[in-house]
Amino acid sequence: MDLPRLETILSRYEGESWDLIPVLQDIQDSYSYLPKDELQVVSERLNVPLTQIYSVATFFKMFSLIPKGKHQIKVCLGTTCHLKGGGRVVESLSHRLGVEVGYTTKDMQFTLETVGCLGSCAQAPVMMVDDKYYGRSTVDKVPKILKLYK
C-alpha cells in the first residue's frame, strides 16, 4: 500500500464522514481505481463503515474497484449522440481496442466507457479522452483520435 500517497489525499480533508465521496474521488483520480487496503484505512480515518464505502464504490459510475487504463475514453450516449450514431462509435472503438464497454485493454492503455451526456450535444456524436472533448467524432474519425494517444 502507498500510505504517503493516501495520507496526502486524506490531509486535504477534515476527516468527517461526509468527506467520503471527495476522498474516494481523489483516490480514484490518483490511483485510477479504489484499492481495497486503502479503503480500509479510509474507513478507519473517516469513521465510516466499510459496508458504506463498498456501497458507495459500487453505486457511483466513476468509481472502479479494479484498475482502469492510462487513458479513459468516454463515449457520449446522450440522446442527441444516440440519434447521431454514438452507439456505432462505441462499437467501432470496442472493435478496434478489442474490449467491451466498461473494460480496460490488456496493455492498460485504454478504458472504454459510455456516459449519459457530455453536454456538447450540438457537436454530436461526442467523445472524451481523459479531459479532452472531441466533437463530431463519427466512426471515420475514431482511428485518428486513437492515434493521438498511442
Binding site: 457511483f60 467501432s92 450535444c121 450540438a122
Partner: protein
C-alpha cells in the same frame, strides 16, 4: 482586486472600472463553451495569441476565451467587438486573415460569416442573424461579453449590483417577497415557485441553514447549466449569496457533475475571487452577514440530481432518494433546513433583485414568468443555446431560431424534459412553451433540453433509449421503478426484435400507471412519460414494429437488412475493415458479399462506405 470594505467602496470601484474601460476597445472573443470547446477553441485562441504577438497587437486587442455564444452549430465561433462581427467555423488557419482584414483594416471576412440556409444571404453582424434576433437573453446575457475568469468583467457588466441592493436596501423578507412576486419558478424541472420554497425554509426554526445549487445536469441533451457555470460563474454565486441572506443560511454548496471539469475549475476560481473581494466569507461587504460556498463534485449517478439523493450523496452515502415529506426546505442536508435550486434559477436571482420583480413578472405567460434557456439540439440546422420568454411557441424555437429541420426533412417530434419528458408531435408545434402547457401534452419542461427529431428517428427506439438510460440509472431502491423499468426495457426489446404483441402495449400502459403513482422519486414517476407520449402520438410506429415487423425509420437493427450493391461496390475494402464479425468478404477491387447469417446489423459498413454501395431496408 481589492477587498471591498463597504458597499460604497464597491460602487466607487465599479465607477472607476467602467470609466477606465474604453467602450470601443477592440476585442476578440473566442467561444470556449460546450459546443466550441470540443471543436478546438483552445487552438483557435492560441492562434490569435500567436498572431497578435507577430503583429504587435497584444496591447491593442483584447483576447478573451469566453462562454457559449449560443449558436453552437457554427463552432468554433469568434466574436469581434465593438463591431459585433461574428465568425463561424473558425479554424486556426483562418486566424491570420481575421487579424489582417478585420482587426487591422476593419473589413469583414465574408467566407466566415453566417449564411442563411434558404436565402443564402450573408450576415456578418450578430444583430442581423435571426437566431439571435428572436431571443431575450437574461441568464445568457453576459456569456459572450465577459471573460469568465475575470471578476472585473463581471463587475463592469453590473455584477454584484443585485447583492449590493439586497444588502443595502432590503430585508430578508423583502427579498423573498420580490422573488415571490417575480413569479420565478424552479428551472430544474419541477417548476416549484422559488419564493415559496425560500419562505418555507426561512420559517423553519432550526440552525444552521444551507443553500445548495444543483448543477448535476444529468438530462441527456441538456447543457444550459454547464454553459452558465462555465461562462458566468459569478452570477450563480451572487444568486446564492442573495438567497442565503434571505433565508439566513450560513453555508452553501454547489453540486457539479463530475463530467464537467471545466465548470468545477471556473466555479472554484470564482469562489476564490469572491472570497478575496469580500463577497464571500465573514462579514460580507461589512453587512454583518457571513456566508461561504464550497463545491461538491458528483460521482456519476443521474439520480443524484434528485434533491434528496443529492443530499444523501453529499453526506457521504449512496444516492438513494427518500420519500418526501420531509422536504429539504424543512429537513435537508444533515437534517437541517436546506434550499436547493437549479443553476439557472440561481442565475436569475441577481437580475430579479437588481431590476425588480415587476420587470421580471412582465415577461412570460400568466403562470410561467421570465425566460427559459433551452439547449436546442438534434435535427435542426442551428443547434445551440437559446433563451426565450416563456410562452414562445415550439414552432418559433424550432423554425425561427433553429432554422428548421436539417436537410429539409420533415419534423417528427421534439423531445423536451430529458428522460422524464415526452415526445411532442407536429400537431402541437404552435404550443406556447411553459410549465403547464408542456405538461398538458404529456411532457415536461424539465431542465430545458429540447431535442428535435426528424423522420430518421424511430419513436420506439427513442422510447427504448430513455427507458434503457433510466434502467441503468435507477437507484434500485423502490419496487415499481426498479422492477418496472426492467420490464419496460424487456418489452421494448421484444418489440424491437419483432417479437412484440399488442398485449405488450396494454401491459406497458398498466405498468406505467403504477410506476407513475407509486415510485419514490421523480425518476420512476416520470419514467413513464417517454413511453406514454410515444404510445399516444406514434402508436402507428409501435404497430408497424409489432404487426409488420418493420422499422420504417431504419433504426431498429434486428428488423433491418443490409446488402451490398455489386454495381456500386468498388471493392475498396473499407467495410471489411470495419465489420466486427467478418461478415463481408470478397477480393480487392471486386464487389464484396455480405453474409446475412453472420451479420449483426451494426451498420458500421454502411457508415464506412463512401460509395453508398451498402444498402439497408
Amino acid at each position: 482586486m481589492p477587498k471591498f470594505e463597504s458597499i460604497d467602496h464597491l460602487r466607487e470601484y465599479r465607477r472607476q472600472l467602467i470609466a477606465k474601460r474604453d467602450p470601443n476597445q477592440s476585442q476578440v472573443l473566442v467561444c470556449a463553451g460546450p459546443g466550441c470547446l470540443p471543436m478546438g477553441s483552445e487552438e483557435v485562441a492560441a492562434a490569435f495569441r500567436e498572431e497578435f504577438e507577430k503583429n504587435g497587437l497584444g496591447a491593442k486587442v483584447l483576447l478573451k476565451e469566453c462562454g457559449c455564444h449560443g449558436l453552437c452549430a457554427g463552432a468554433v465561433r469568434v466574436l469581434i467587438r465593438p463591431q459585433e462581427i461574428t465568425y463561424q467555423q473558425v479554424t486556426p488557419g483562418d486566424v491570420p486573415e481575421i487579424v489582417e482584414k478585420t482587426l487591422k483594416e476593419g473589413q469583414v471576412v465574408e467566407r466566415l460569416v453566417y449564411e442563411d440556409l434558404h436565402t443564402h444571404e450573408k450576415a456578418a453582424y450578430k444583430g442581423e442573424i435571426p437566431f439571435f434576433k428572436g431571443q431575450m437573453p437574461i441568464v445568457l446575457r453576459k456569456l459572450d461579453v465577459i471573460d469568465p475568469t475575470s471578476l472585473d468583467d463581471y463587475l463592469a457588466m453590473g455584477g454584484y449590483r443585485g447583492l449590493r441592493k439586497a444588502l443595502l436596501e432590503m430585508k430578508p423578507d423583502d427579498i423573498i417577497d420580490a422573488i415571490d412576486k417575480s413569479g420565478l419558478r424552479g428551472r430544474g424541472g419541477g417548476g416549484f415557485p422559488t419564493g415559496r420554497k425560500w419562505r418555507i425554509c426561512q420559517d423553519v426554526e432550526d440552525e444552521p441553514k444551507f443553500i445548495i445549487c444543483n448543477g448535476d445536469e444529468g438530462d441527456p441533451g441538456a447543457f444550459m447549466d454547464r454553459a452558465v457555470m462555465e461562462g458566468d460563474p459569478h452570477a450563480v454565486l451572487e444568486g446564492m449569496i442573495i438567497g442565503a441572506y434571505a433565508i439566513g443560511a450560513s453555508k452553501g454548496y454547489i453540486y457539479v457533475r463530475h463530467e464537467y471539469p471545466l465548470a468545477v475549475s471556473r466555479l472554484q476560481l470564482a469562489i476564490e475571487q469572491a472570497r478575496e473581494s469580500g463577497f464571500l466569507g465573514k462579514n460580507i461587504l461589512r453587512s454583518g452577514f457571513d456566508f461561504d460556498i464550497k463545491i461538491s463534485r458528483g460521482a456519476g449517478a443521474f439520480v443524484c440530481g434528485e434533491e434528496t439523493a443529492l443530499i444523501h450523496s453529499m453526506e457521504g452515502n449512496i444516492g438513494e432518494p427518500s420519500p418526501r415529506p420531509p422536504y429539504p426546505a424543512q429537513s435537508g442536508l444533515f437534517g437541517k433546513p436546506t434550499v436547493i435550486n437549479n443553476v439557472e434559477t440561481w442565475a436569475n436571482v441577481p437580475e430579479i433583485i437588481n431590476l425588480g420583480a415587476d420587470w421580471y413578472a412582465a415577461i412570460g405567460t400568466e403562470k410561467s414568468k421570465g425566460t427559459k434557456v433551452f439547449s436546442l439540439v438534434g435535427a435542426v440546422n442551428q443547434t445551440g443555446l437559446v433563451e426565450v420568454p416563456m410562452g414562445t411557441t415550439l414552432r418559433q424555437i424550432v423554425y425561427d431560431l433553429g432554422g428548421g429541420i436539417k436537410g429539409d426533412r420533415d419534423f417528427k417530434a421534439v423531445q423536451t424534459g430529458g428522460p422524464s419528458g415526452g415526445c411532442i408531435p407536429a400537431q402541437f408545434l404552435d404550443l406556447p412553451v411553459d410549465y403547464d402547457s408542456l405538461q398538458s401534452v404529456g411532457s415536461i419542461m424539465g431542465s430545458g433540453g429540447m431535442i428535435v427529431m426528424d423522420t430518421t428517428s424511430c419513436m420506439v427506439d427513442v422510447a427504448r433509449y430513455f427507458i434503457n438510460f433510466l434502467y441503468e440509472e435507477s437507484c434500485g431502491k423502490c419496487t415499481p421503478c426498479r422492477e418496472g423499468l426492467k420490464n419496460l426495457l424487456f418489452i421494448l426489446d421484444e418489440i424491437i426484435h419483432g417479437r412484440g404483441s399488442e398485449e405488450h402495449l396494454a401491459l406497458m400502459e398498466e405498468l406505467c400507471g403504477t410506476m407513475a403513482t407509486a415510485s419514490i422519486c421523480g425518476l420512476g414517476k416520470s419514467a413513464v412519460n417517454p413511453i406514454r407520449s410515444t404510445m399516444k402520438y406514434f402508436k402507428d410506429e409501435y404497430l408497424a414494429h409489432i404487426r409488420d415487423k418493420k422499422c420504417h425509420a431504419l433504426v431498429c437493427r434486428p428488423l433491418l437488412k443490409y446488402t451490398i450493391d455489386p454495381e456500386t461496390c468498388t471493392g475498396c475494402l473499407a467495410c471489411v475493415r470495419e465489420c466486427p464479425v467478418g461478415a463481408i468478404s470478397g477480393k480487392k477491387k471486386m464487389a464484396q458479399e455480405l453474409d446475412q447469417e453472420l451479420c449483426v446489423k451494426c451498420g458500421l459498413c454502411y457508415e464506412a462506405c463512401q460509395f453508398e454501395a451498402v444498402k439497408v431496408e
